[in-house]
Amino acid sequence: MLGLSVDRLRADMNRLLALLFHQGVLDEQFLQLQQLQDESSPNFVSEVVNIYFHESEKLLRNLRALLVDKEFSDYKKMGVHLNQFMGSSSSIGAKRVRNVCVAFRAASDQNNRAGCLRALELLEYEYCYLKNKLHELFQIEQQRILAAAVRYPVQQHHHQQPNNP
């Protein structure tokens, strides 16, 4: 039944979210994000998260480029990147990514290159994990919306039936 599948999809979403919360991948800021989504901006969450992906990958590339450079010494610039990464990650509730950013920035503040490299590895890992999970979430969401859309006319039909006869 379509209605059942909608419920099931919703349950899947909730389970996944709960897992991500439990793992500390996301925090309540993500819920805020979801609450911001309304009729006026129905795709708000995915819109923002996609921008986030886009920006984050840019930042990660920049960070790696900075660190790969053998004569690298511009920790200040790195700090700026990290600060931005921190800000955007925390804004969407990407808690673990943000935490790694904090550690990264600490290493950067100490001009600790090795620490920075380790932090970068970790950051990339966390970011990929987050991205995968969020993709998963959005896929379920998409399915749910589709399912709901399918169900909608059915509901209407049901409503109409009592009237027509």
């Binding site: 800021q29 994000l33 708000f44 923002v48 931005q84 800000g87 955007s88 804004s91 943000r98």
Partner: protein, 628 residues
């Protein structure tokens, strides 16, 4: 500003809906944050304009003045630092600005505060926080209204971008309209031609096409002002320094006015004093300083609410009696002073304030009366002081103190000189001048307590050590009464001499460090009429002790203040713009220490130190303690 008021007028009439429709400008280079914030603000029913570039935002603000009620700005932005935007917004359109950053480190937040941010939000920003931001708009309005009440026409002008004309200038100083004329006359008499010109020209400026003060232009302006020193910055010289084709002196004058207003605003203190009658016949500069000092104390005290009513009344009486030189240098000095003093006063317990207020007043009164002849005034001031102190301070201040005070006529001279020198020293370096003022404020509070406390050290706040110092000094001082003549001489010398002269040194010290007050108090007491070489080294180590040694060398009176009174301890705050300097005192206040030594030798070096110190800003001060 018309814009601002317009915004409020929209809002005010419809209180039921009030926060709804609040016009918010969000600036953040991080598009994610920007998008999220925008949405959150929409949910709050605000009218949101978002912008990912600070420069664009600034242009927007300039083009659509009055179209925004509040600005939210990120701190780190590639095209323009958020703090710079904050500065400019504060300077050009008196809007509340909320800073935000993922970076919540204390020094950064402190910087935001120092630059006049009304709030500093740490990302992630939650909608709960945004729901409440309208309060800043209202609060600002309220403060302005209050200010308005206190200072009459001033506030209106404050909000207007138009250049401030003479009347306003005067009014900013809290003078009656008729006073203005007098003041101007006096001013013309004074050497400060440019100042006068400035005022006269301002009205004309208003009608001329507006110059857009780009960030770069403003920076040039600020650096020019800094170079000249805020008190000495006159449009003509600023213009020369800036060397920007097409820019007229009127433009600069107008901008300078705004800049001063801006500084005042930063101080966050309303100028509350009702019209102080001021007629001033002496040299403008000195008087100004003095007057402003006295003034600021009162204001600060009153503002902080720590001043007992009786005291306040006494203060007012004193102020009224003195011929105020306030008019001349209205904006900057006073504002700065006020600002810092206020800050200081907040930290200071009541007793301190009272004590502290007195000495200052005394100085000012003295000076005021005798404008050009500082020496003479001493007695008057002293007597007043005594009377005053006996009334109000009786409890707190031991009799000994008064005696000390009285004996040191020279104090006045010294202080006078110091102040003059402050001016001089200030002139050469912009940053310094700015610094000086604030620091001056800071110091005074502490120093003055010492002064009054006199021999019996009363532990006010943290600064007990300081007072103790004062005590020490007092004793030695007793011996000397000053000949006014000597004082005059000193004064004369000081004026011409730049920083390096002996006097200059002393003066520079006081001025630079803003120790002037301290110096005044401490130095004054210490330096009797019979000139002895006295080097007063003011150091502000973390420790609270003050040491004074008298080496009586008959010839010269040298006051060298090595370490300006600044306190080193406060969080080291990078100082930018005038704002920083003003605020530095705050952190310092608690920890300021006065080191007074009488060493004749170090005088020459002092200027350098001072300069450096000044430039560095207060934080640097910490290092000095070892000197003595």
């Amino acid at each position: 500003m018309a814009c601002t008021s317009g915004g409020m007028s929209d809002v005010a009439p419809v209180p039921e809906q009030f926060p709804v429709g609040l016009r918010v400008l969000v600036v953040d280079d991080d598009v994610i944050c920007l998008r999220v914030l925008e949405q959150m603000l929409r949910k709050c029913m605000y009218k949101v304009t978002s912008c990912s570039q600070a420069t664009v935002a600034l242009n927007l603000l300039r083009e659509r003045k009055g179209c925004f009620d509040i600005v939210l700005s990120d701190v780190h932005m590639p095209d323009m630092d958020g703090f710079k935007l904050l500065e400019l917004v504060g300077l050009e359109m008196d809007l509340p600005v909320i800073m935000m950053s993922a970076d919540g480190r204390t020094n950064l937040v402190m910087r935001g505060i120092r630059h006049g941010a009304c709030d500093y939000l740490i990302k992630p920003i939650r909608d709960e926080e945004l729901k409440n931001i309208w309060q800043h708009v209202v609060r600002k309005k309220w403060n302005e209204i209050k200010e308005h009440d206190y200072s009459g026409s001033m506030e209106d002008h404050d909000r207007q971008k138009r250049a401030i004309n003479d009347a306003e200038y005067a009014s900013s100083v809290n003078e009656g309209a008729d006073e203005v004329l007098k003041t101007q006359k006096k001013r013309r008499e004074s050497k400060d031609e440019d100042e006068t010109e400035l005022e006269n020209d301002d009205p004309a400026t208003t009608k001329k096409p507006r110059v857009v003060w780009s960030v770069e232009l403003h920076q040039q302006f600020v650096s020019a002002v800094n170079q000249l020193g805020i008190d000495k910055a006159v449009p003509k010289r600023i213009l020369e320094l800036m060397n920007v084709p097409g820019l007229t002196r009127e433009n600069v004058a107008s901008h300078l006015q705004k800049f001063r207003l801006y500084l005042k605003r930063l101080s966050g203190v309303a100028q509350q004093q009702g019209g102080l009658p001021s007629t001033y016949c002496g040299p403008v500069e000195q008087n100004i300083k003095l007057a402003s000092l006295g003034r600021f104390d009162i204001q600060a005290l009153a503002a902080s609410g720590q001043l007992p009513p009786q005291t306040l009344a006494a203060l007012h009486a004193e102020l009224l009696s003195r011929p105020p030189g306030n008019l001349v240098l209205p904006a900057l000095d006073q504002r700065t002073l006020l600002h810092s003093s206020i800050q200081g006063s907040k930290c200071v317990p009541v007793d301190q304030n009272v004590a502290y207020g007195q000495p200052l007043i005394k100085c000012s009164s003295n000076i005021a009366k005798q404008t050009s002849q500082p020496v003479m005034s001493n007695e008057d001031g002293l007597s007043e002081f005594e009377a005053w102190s006996s009334k109000n301070l009786g409890d707190m201040v031991p009799a000994c103190n008064f005696g000390t005070v009285v004996e040191t006529n020279s104090n006045m001279l010294i202080s006078f000189i110091q102040q003059q020198q402050q001016k001089q020293s200030v002139i050469p370096e912009p940053s310094r001048s700015i610094n000086v003022q604030p620091s001056c404020l800071v110091v005074p509070s502490q120093s003055s307590p010492n002064f009054q406390t006199g021999n019996s050290p009363v532990s006010v706040n943290q600064n007990c050590g300081f007072r103790n110092l004062a005590m020490d000094y007092n004793n030695p001082l007793l011996q000397s009464n000053n000949s006014s003549g000597s004082g005059q001489n000193m004064e004369v010398e000081c004026k011409p001499v730049p920083m390096h002269s002996e006097f200059g040194t002393a003066g520079s010290v006081s001025s630079a460090s803003s120790c002037s007050k301290n110096i005044q108090d401490s130095a004054c007491q210490r330096v009797p009429s019979s000139p002895s070489t006295i080097s007063v080294v003011m150091q502000v180590p973390s420790m609270n002790r003050v040491q004074s040694s008298h080496s009586g060398k008959p010839d010269l009176v040298q006051v060298s203040t090595r370490n300006p009174v600044y306190v080193g301890k406060g969080p080291s705050i990078p100082s930018r713009f005038a704002v920083d300097e003003h605020e530095l005192p705050l952190s310092n206040i608690g920890q300021v220490k006065l080191y007074a030594e009488n060493n004749g030798n170090k005088v020459k070096q002092e200027p350098n130190d001072l300069t450096e110190n000044v430039r560095v800003g207060i934080p640097v001060r910490q290092t000095f303690p070892q000197m003595i």
